[in-house]
Amino acid sequence: MKKLFFICLSFLLASSLSAGNFPFGSSVAQVVKLVKDVSVKKSSEAKIENAKIGTVISDGGQVITKSKSLALIKLTKDNSLLTVRENSILNIYERKDAKGINTITNIEKGTLNFKVQKQEVGDGFQFITPSAVASIRGTSGTIDSDTSETEILLEEGEMFVESKNDPSKNATLDGGKKLTIDSEGNIKIEDLNEEDQKKLNDSKKTNTRKIKIITPFGELEFEYLSD
């Protein structure tokens, strides 16, 4: 099983170096909710346009969120949920073959909260960031990535993470733990502390709430993400 898994992983790794060359497929994901400024590329060849609820994303599609925005994406293969937080860019690829469906999400930058269903036999799910490649079977957590470092908070499940630039540097992350990996492949694993837990909880917030404050000097209205 593990051999098969690593084979898939290697294949996907090689493929990830030339991201965007996957054959065009049917629907891979759908936008089920969005807040404020979200744009999509429905496929690798498509133009960037404003996202709407129900927008379908195919292989090679992209989701871009601006400041104070977020998008909820569901994978059509198994109802896995991805929450793309503000100021993030996410590319989605899917490869179908006789064995199953492999999904790859490439987080160019930003934060992604994920709740991935347990993958069927033959299926795969992978996250790629500028510094790491992470494979999962059925997990939930948050990935925060920029050009120099990737931080993964894993709520439950199991995740295999390896350095994008040096695959020999890798680790398995269990639920309830945090992993950071830099561009040189240095990995650190710690338990989730209170702050991490809060960050995890906050990243799952997708509902919005408006509050109005009326003072003798004027009115203040603000909107925020809540449970």
Binding site: Q30, V32, V56, T76
Partner: protein, 793 residues
């Protein structure tokens, strides 16, 4: 027997309940009941306002105890989920437990405690087809707002035998398949596509999938809710009310003048859907016939933003040149459609107060004085009398139609008419009448970061309408006898008839020189808010004869500019402001000289948000000067030449020594140099230190020191004050006790003692007691002792 029993279970596939007689639950919908998947239960409710809480009591197969899970009430429905781990075949028993606000409980079905059987949900095992057909949205029990609805079904994993195009979708048993978008392996319906309207909040989604032969391949159900984005319908459709009653009794003894004040106030606010009805009343023992009203009564009705009506005392706001801050006892209303709006007010703004005859005179001994007038000789046996003048009853009517909502544009036109009732009192002088017409414009751009406002108004005033409009005979007499005026009396009569419809026409109607803009009032202002800079530039013009009965405190006979700039810097830690105003009077050149009024202001405030005090430093300069020479023998007394300079510094800082001590220090010095013959020089300096200490959650204290030295017109006045006080919370914060002692020494001698107690007897009922004693040695001992209560409905 076993077979029959099993058959009964199998047959029990219905997931809709049969109707039970209940005062609170009209319908229950059960979501997909599959093994190890949570089951959503939605209940449609009656009489929601009486319900405090609803929960699902359920018992998985094989267990003896019922478990509870609370339902969420939204609008007229409630929803809850039976957790997935408890959903195991063959069935789950359940009932709803309804707790009412009066403390009683009811079940659905009714009579569970009396032995009525609970309801059952059959649990189906998971099949492989559950993995083929995936409902991406909605989740079981999910709540959507109206414009965020998404129904999405994925066939990515579906067998090749499935004919996607034959799929049927039902919502609340209504076929909505025609609204669906079929996109390869995905079927989607959003709120944009869904044309049908559904009542209530809960929805039952049913999906039927068919194979290529047209046979039912798979079906599934899911429940969810749709609520309104705006004020929840449950809030709208409920009649809600709230109110308060306040009563106060207070004895004040000031300079040996003792007055016992009693007042009572009541507020009642209610709402039903978009309608809001409010009533409030304030009654006081100070209400006297010989004073303006102190009692207040208002009944107001409102519907959203578009309708507002008030009967009783209201404070309508029109452009400030027309009406501002005036109490109108009558009817005030507004209708706002956005593109067109109208607001109006009509009522009494001044109550009549009769004057008083003080002394009577005959024709041969009557003096010349402002307060000596002709009186009714038959009634008072004298032709003249010295009086205290009364106040005429004054009525006001104003209306303002406008175009545009005001968000980005609004153009309004105003008309005001005010008149004194000459028959309302006997001893009065110079009853007046006033007409004002005006226009106002608002333009806003870029989220009101650019705001332009402008208004102009023109007034007519008749300063004495006691003799009424000029008669034909009077016009003939005036304009015939004075041929130099070269005016045809007939023309005057025509003009009189025209104007008389609006205002009384006689020799006191003015202005006589409208073409000189003497009764014009105008203001223009531009506000800009960019780059952390708030800039305001304005120009005002108010002629010397401009007057509006709706605005008593407007400064007139001035024109000039006003500039203010407020800058935020360093992430809102540093604020700098500048202000400059230059005005002049004598616009119509009627005064002995023109006076220039110049004001200069500057301040810097720094709030470092670190371990450093907050600092504010400010400077003001006011100068007033006209062209007359103070040394002129004849007219020097009319010379104006004074300058006031004022500097202030304020510091505040939190010191931590055992506990937190909020300290503030202020220094203010001001000097007025009056070079006129009045010589009203004054100067004062005030230094104060204040320390608030927070000893613990319940106890805080204050210590203050004030030193003041002043000299007004050569008269020195220096004193030093100390004040010490404390506040203590007791009885679980229900009782608050506060007290201070403050002696003053020097030229201002006063010793004060204050004690206030507030007690929250119940959540909505509180009482307060105050006693304040002020001893002024050698003068008087003043006191305020009072008791008040407040009750909230």
């Amino acid at each position: 027997m076993k077979k029959i029993f099993s058959l009964l279970i199998i047959i029990t596939l219905s997931i809709d309940t049969f109707a039970q007689v209940s005062n609170y639950v009209s319908d229950v919908k059960i979501g997909n009941a599959k093994e190890r998947s949570s089951i959503a239960i939605n209940a449609e409710l009656f009489n929601v306002e009486n319900i405090s809480q609803i929960s699902i009591a359920y018992k998985p197969f094989g267990e003896t105890q019922f478990k509870n899970v609370e339902m969420l009430i939204a609008g007229n429905s409630s929803s809850g989920n039976i957790p997935a781990e408890d959903v195991i075949p063959p069935y789950i028993e359940y009932y709803l437990l309804i707790e009412l606000k009066d403390g009683s409980k009811q079940t659905y079905p009714i009579g569970i405690e009396q032995g009525v059987s609970p309801l059952q949900i059959s649990i189906a095992g998971k099949t492989s087809r559950d993995k083929e057909i995936i409902i991406l949205s909605p989740e079981e029990g999910e709540i959507f707002s109206e414009n965020e609805l998404l129904i999405s079904i994925s066939f990515v994993r579906a067998s090749e035998n499935v004919d996607i195009n034959k799929t049927k979708i039902f919502l609340n048993n209504f076929d909505i398949t025609s609204s669906a978008i079929f996109d390869q392996d995905l079927i989607t319906i959003t709120s944009n596509e869904l044309k049908e309207k559904f009542s209530g909040n809960s929805r039952l989604l049913e999906v039927q999938v068919f194979d290529k032969d047209g046979k039912l391949y798979y079906s599934t159900k899911r429940t969810f809710q749709v609520v309104s984005q705006q004020i929840a319908k449950s809030v709208e459709e409920q009649f809600k009310y709230a109110g308060s009653l306040k009563a106060e009794a207070r004895n004040e003894n000031t300079n040996s003048n003792e007055i016992f004040y009693k007042n009572i106030g009541a507020d009642f606010n209610s709402s039903y859907k978009d309608w809001k009805i409010n009533a409030n009343a304030y009654l006081t023992s100070e209400e006297k016939d010989n004073l303006q009203p102190y009692n207040r009564y208002t009944l107001s009705i409102q519907n959203g933003d578009w309708l507002s009506l008030k009967v009783g005392d209201a404070y309508p706001r029109f452009p400030n040149l027309i009406v501002d801050g005036k109490r109108v006892r009558g009817v005030t209303g507004a209708i706002n459609f956005g593109f067109f709006n109208i607001q109006t007010t009509y009522g009494e703004i001044v109550r009549s107060v009769e004057g008083r005859l003080i002394e009577k005179y005959n024709a041969d001994n009557v003096p010349l004085a402002s307060d000596v007038i002709s009186i009714n000789q038959a009634k008072y046996n004298a032709p003249f009398g010295k009086v205290n003048f009364g106040i005429y009853k004054r009525k006001l009517f104003a209306v303002r139609p406008s175009f545009g909502s005001g968000e980005n544009f609004q153009l309004g036109f105003s008309y005001l008419h005010g008149i004194d009732d000459i028959n309302s009192i006997e001893f009065g002088t110079r009853p007046k009448e006033n007409v004002v017409v005006g226009s106002d414009l608002t333009l806003a751009f870029d989220n009101k970061n650019i705001l332009f406002t402008s208004q102009a108004a023109f007034s007519l005033i008749n300063k004495d309408i006691s003799t009424g409009t000029l008669s034909d005979a009077q016009i003939d007499s005036i304009f015939t006898s004075n041929k130099d005026l070269n005016v045809d009396p007939a023309d005057v009569k025509n003009i009189r008839d025209m104007i008389d419809k609006f205002i009384t026409v006689n020799q006191y109607l003015g202005p006589w020189n409208p073409q000189k803009l003497s009764s014009l009032g105008a203001e223009t202002a531009l506000n800009l808010n960019y780059f952390n800079n708030s800039i305001r530039a304005s120009y005002i013009y108010r002629g010397n004869e401009y007057q509006s009965f709706g605005q008593s405190y407007l400064r007139t006979d001035v024109k000039g500019i006003n500039l203010v700039d407020r800058i935020r810097m360093l992430d809102n830690k540093l604020f700098i402001s500048f202000g400059y105003e230059s005005l002049q009077d004598n616009l119509q050149n009627t005064k002995l000289s023109t006076t220039n009024y110049t004001t200069l202001s500057a301040s810097v405030s720094y709030f470092p948000r670190t371990n450093f005090p907050n600092i504010t430093i400010g400077y003001n300069k006011f100068s007033n000067k006209n062209d007359l020479n103070t040394k002129d023998f004849q007219y020097g007394k009319y010379a104006i030449d004074d300058v006031t300079n004022r500097i202030f510094v304020q510091l505040s800082y939190d010191v931590y020594a055992l506990v937190k001590h909020s300290t503030s220090f202020s220094f203010t010095t001001s000097s007025r140099d009056d070079n006129s013959q009045q010589n009203s020089d004054s100067k004062f300096t005030n230094v104060s230190l204040n320390v608030n200490s927070f000893w613990n959650r319940d106890l805080s204290s204050v210590l203050g020191l004030v030193y003041n030295t002043s000299e007004i017109v050569g008269y020195p006045f220096d004193y030093f004050s100390i004040y010490v006080g404390a506040k203590y919370l007791m009885l679980e914060d229900k009782l608050t006790l506060s007290g201070t002692i403050s002696p003053s020494f020097g030229d201002f001698q006063r010793q004060s003692f204050e004690f206030v107690a507030n007690y929250l007897i119940m959540q909505n009922f509180s009482v307060a007691f105050q006693t304040r004693i002020y001893r002024l040695p050698g003068k008087s001992t003043n006191s305020v002792i009072g008791f008040s209560t407040r009750y909230n409905i």
